[in-house]
C-alpha cells in the first residue's frame, strides 16, 4: 500500500512582514550600501525573497538598487575571496 506521509511544511510558518512595508519605505536607495548589504549574502548574491521576507514589490526594487550599486562599484558583483 502506498501511503503518503506529508512532511510538515516549515516554509510558511513565520509570516514576517516585509521590512520596507512595515516602515512604509517606498524608495530604496541604491547608494546606501549599508542597508543593501543586509540583503546580499557573503558571496555578494542577492538573497531570495523567501529568506529576506520582502514583498514582491520591494524585492524588485531592491534588486534594481543592488544592481545599480554594483554598477557604481558601491557593492561587489561577487565577493568570493576566501575559498
Amino acid at each position: 500500500m502506498v501511503y503518503k506521509k506529508r512532511r510538515m511544511d516549515f516554509r510558511h510558518k513565520r509570516r514576517r512582514v516585509c521590512r520596507f512595508c512595515e516602515d512604509k519605505i517606498r524608495h530604496i536607495d541604491y547608494l546606501d550600501d549599508r542597508m543593501l548589504k543586509r540583503f546580499v549574502n557573503e558571496r555578494g548574491k542577492i538573497v531570495p525573497r523567501r529568506i529576506s521576507g520582502n514583498c514582491a514589490f520591494h524585492q524588485r526594487r531592491l534588486t534594481t538598487a543592488v544592481k545599480r550599486a554594483r554598477h557604481l562599484a558601491i557593492m561587489p558583483f561577487t565577493s568570493e575571496i576566501y575559498r
Binding site: 524608495h27 547608494l31 546606501d32 550600501d33 549599508r34 548589504k37 557573503e42 557604481l72 558601491i74 565577493s79
Partner: protein, 168 residues
Amino acid sequence: MRIYESTFILSPQSDDAAFDRQIKAILDLIARNQGNVLHEDRWGIRRLAYPIKKFTQGFYTRIVFEGTNEILQAMERHFHLEEPYIRYLTVAYEGKIDENWTGAKTKVAAEPAPEPSVAPVADKAPSTGESPAAGETAEPTPAVASPEPVAGEPASAPDSAGDETKSE
C-alpha cells in the same frame, strides 16, 4: 524638464583642483543649456568594490538636476568620451521634492572599509541599556563579522549586537 540624478566617479588624482574642474564642467554643461542644478553632493574618494580601469579608488559625486533630454545626451557623451570619468549612472530622480527637500541622501561616509559603526562595544555600552530584546536588533543579520575585541565571549550568534546586557 525632468528631474534626474546622476552619480559619477572620477579617477583618483592627487589634485583637488582637477576634481573641481571636472565637476564644474558637468555643472556648466547643465547650466548652459537651461538646466538647473538642484543639489550637488561630493562624496570624496572612496574605495571601489572592484577595480575599474585598474583603479581601486574613485572620487564620487552625485548631482540632482533638472534638464531636458538634450542635456542628458550631452552629459552622457561627455562622460563617455572624457577620460577622468570612469563610471557614471543617471537615473530619473526618485523621491518627492517639496519645500522640505534637502537633497541629502542617507549617505555612507567615504570610508574604505565597512565597519559596524552603529553597534556600541559591549563593555562600553552607554547605560541606557540598548534594547536587549531578542530578534529586535536593527543590525544587519548576515554576518557583519566583526570580532568583538573586548567582549571576549565567543561570538556564537550572528546577532551578537543584541547581547549588550552582558557588560562586565
